[in-house]
Subunit: 222 residues, 2 copies
C-alpha cells in the first residue's frame, strides 16, 4: 500500500495534500516493485513511459561512455524522482542506466495518465514537474561546464567549488570514489590523483579519502 505522506515529500507532489495524491492516483496505473542490490531498474536505451519514485534504498543513474567509463550522473535516495524527463519527452531512449545500489523499493506512475487525468491538483503537479526537470537541466549543465573546462586542475576546482556551494562549507565529503570522480570529470584516474597531490602540495586543498577541505579559494593569492 502506497504511503501518500511520503509521496507528498517528493518534488513532484510537493504542495499536494496526501488525501489529494491518493485521489489523483486512484485513476492512474501505478506499480510498486522491489529490486535487489545490483539489479537494473532502467537499462540505458530503454523507452520509459512511467515516472519512477524511490521509496526505499539508494540507486545510481549511470551513463556508460564509449571507452568503458561508468559515469555516475545522479544518486537516487528515498523520495528521489527519476525517468521524469524520459516520460515527459515521450519516445526518447534513456541516456542512463539506473542500478540499485542497495535493496530498493520503487513505485512507477504512468506519466500520460497522470497528466491527462483532470484533477484539481494536476495543475500543481505539472508545475512541480517543470521545476524538477529544470533543476535536472541545470545539474547536467554544471557537468557540461566541468567537461568544457580544460586541464585536470580546472575541472577539479570547478567540481570542488560546486560541492562547497552545495554544502555551504569548505569541508565536506563527496559521494564519489576516485574512479567515479575521475570518470565524472572525464580524466584518467592517475591524472586525477597526480593533480590532487599537487594541489595538496601547493596548500590549496587537504583531503583524506572522500573527505575534502578547501584551504584556498579560487583566485586567492598567497
Amino acid at each position: 500500500m502506497l504511503n501518500f505522506e511520503q509521496l507528498g515529500r517528493t518534488s513532484v507532489f510537493e504542495g499536494v495534500p496526501p488525501k489529494e495524491i491518493e485521489g489523483m492516483l486512484n485513476s492512474v496505473p501505478t506499480k510498486e516493485e522491489s529490486f535487489c542490490k545490483g539489479e537494473t531498474i532502467v537499462r540505458q536505451g530503454d523507452v520509459i513511459k512511467d515516472i519512477g519514485i524511490v521509496l526505499k534504498g539508494t540507486a545510481l543513474a549511470i551513463k556508460n561512455g564509449f571507452n568503458g567509463e561508468e559515469v555516475v550522473v545522479a544518486r537516487l535516495t528515498p523520495d528521489s524522482v527519476f525517468a521524469d524527463i524520459l516520460s515527459g519527452s515521450m519516445n526518447f531512449e534513456s541516456p542512463v542506466a539506473v542500478l540499485a545500489q542497495e535493496p530498493c523499493r520503487v513505485v512507477f506512475i504512468n506519466y500520460t495518465r497522470l497528466v491527462y487525468s483532470p484533477h484539481p491538483y494536476s495543475h500543481k503537479v505539472l508545475q512541480n514537474m517543470i521545476k524538477t526537470i529544470s533543476l535536472k537541466y541545470f545539474a547536467q549543465n554544471l557537468h557540461l561546464e566541468i567537461l568544457m573546462a580544460k586541464g585536470v586542475r580546472q575541472r577539479v576546482l570547478l567540481f570542488l567549488n560546486g560541492e562547497r556551494e552545495q554544502n555551504k562549507s569548505c569541508e565536506f565529503s563527496i559521494s564519489f570514489d576516485r574512479r567515479q570522480l575521475a570518470d565524472f570529470l572525464g580524466v584518467e584516474r592517475s591524472a586525477l590523483s597526480r593533480e590532487l597531490s599537487r594541489m595538496k602540495g601547493e596548500g590549496i586543498i587537504e583531503y583524506r579519502k572522500n573527505f575534502f577541505h578547501i584551504l584556498k579559494l579560487e583566485g586567492d593569492k598567497p
Copy 2:
C-alpha cells in the same frame, strides 16, 4: 499586435487554437521587443521570469567558457522558445547569453502568470512546456556525450553522426563555422582542421566549407 496564428506554431502553444491563446494571454503580461543585430537579448547570469519567443530574425544562445571560448549552444529562429527552463526553474541564473544575429522581434510572456492563470488550455501549455524542456535536456545531453568522448576524431564522428541523423542524409551543411565547431567540440581549431584533413585523407569524409559528406559510416571496414 501579436499574431496568435504564429504563436500557435510554437512548441509551447502547439495544439492550442489561436483564439484560445488570445484569451489566455489577455490576463498575462506580455511585452514585445525589437533588437538590433548583435544586441544582447539575455545576458549570461541574468535571472529571467519570462518565457521568450522569437517572432522574427535569428539569435544565438552562447555560453562563454573560462578560456574565452564562445560555445553556440542553440540557434533560435522564428517560433523558437527560449528562457523557458530559466523561468521554469525560478531564480536560477542563465547559463547562456542570447544574442541577436540579425534584427529580431521577440515577445516575452510572464511565466508565473501564464501557468497560474486558470484556463481550459493551460493544462495543455504545461504539458507542452514539459515536452519542450525535456527535448532541450536531451539536446544538452548529446553535447555532454560529445564532450565525454576523448580524442578529436571520436568527437567529430559523434557530431557528424548526430547531424546525419537529424538530416537523414549523409550529405548536409552545418550551421557552425570552424571556430564555432571547434569550441562546441571542446578542441583547438587547429586540431579540428588537422583531424578533418586526416579523415578526408583516409576517405572517411568529404567536405567543403560547411558542407559535409560522410563516405564511410562508423565501423565500416574498407
